[in-house]
Amino acid sequence: MCLRNLVHSALCLAVSLVGLALVYLGLGAEFIGWIQILVYVGAVSILIVFAILLTRGAEAPPGRVTVAPWSGLSVALAVFITLAWTVIKSKVLAGFAGNSPGGYTLAVKEIGGKLVTEYVLPLQVMGLLLTAALIGAVIIALHERKGWK
């Protein structure tokens, strides 16, 4: 049931993220779909493959690749059943049924305009966060040598 080869797992993650990007395109959010392909398929999946190659290589360790599979799977199944039951039975969602998605197309120009006017402070904070996270990641993963500070 589980893939033992880690590189295969990472490539399957890339395939499923491409599928999710297609769902975004179907929802009418073309910009988000292409962002998804660029960031997740292009960057995060490749980063995961690099991390796999930098740690142990592709082969799984001998022995089981999962820990306590049945309890974990039953928890996930219970969560799915609860969520699905809530979605199907919800009275709030039934109110959304009248809204049709037609008649509105998302323009990238609009997103850009919103980003530099209404959401400019979150955009700046995001830039700061990304810079801090990347510097932190480099410092954490830096190879330590003797006598080096």
Partner: protein, 103 residues
């Protein structure tokens, strides 16, 4: 069952698959992959509610997804750097064997 329900059920399925991966796999990178899948399920929810909600011109869901993707990318970078650092120190990336606080 309208399309919004279908998108929300797909999102719930994605979240559950990610949760199952994060709870059952032993390799730290695959736990991180499960977390990424759960984040993507949340993004799908935001976009579905933006599309079928009452006021799509406000672009609230789209903005939330853009910022969530950026935060998730930063989280993946830091998480993978931590995994590489743990591997250098302890020579393992099995989350069961990383059980002491003293390096």
């Amino acid at each position: 069952m309208n399309p919004l329900h279908q998108y929300l059920l797909l999102s719930a399925l994605l979240f559950s698959v990610g949760l199952a991966g994060a709870l059952t796999r032993r390799h730290a990178i695959l736990v991180l992959v499960g977390v990424e899948l759960m984040l993507n399920a949340a993004n799908l929810n935001f976009l579905a509610f933006w599309r079928y909600g009452p006021n799509p011109e406000a672009l609230t869901g789209v903005m939330f997804v853009i910022f969530a993707i950026a935060v998730a990318a930063a989280e993946a970078a830091v998480g993978l750097a931590l995994i590489i650092s743990i591997y250098r120190h302890l020579r393992t990336s099995n989350v069961d064997e990383v059980d002491r606080l003293k390096g």
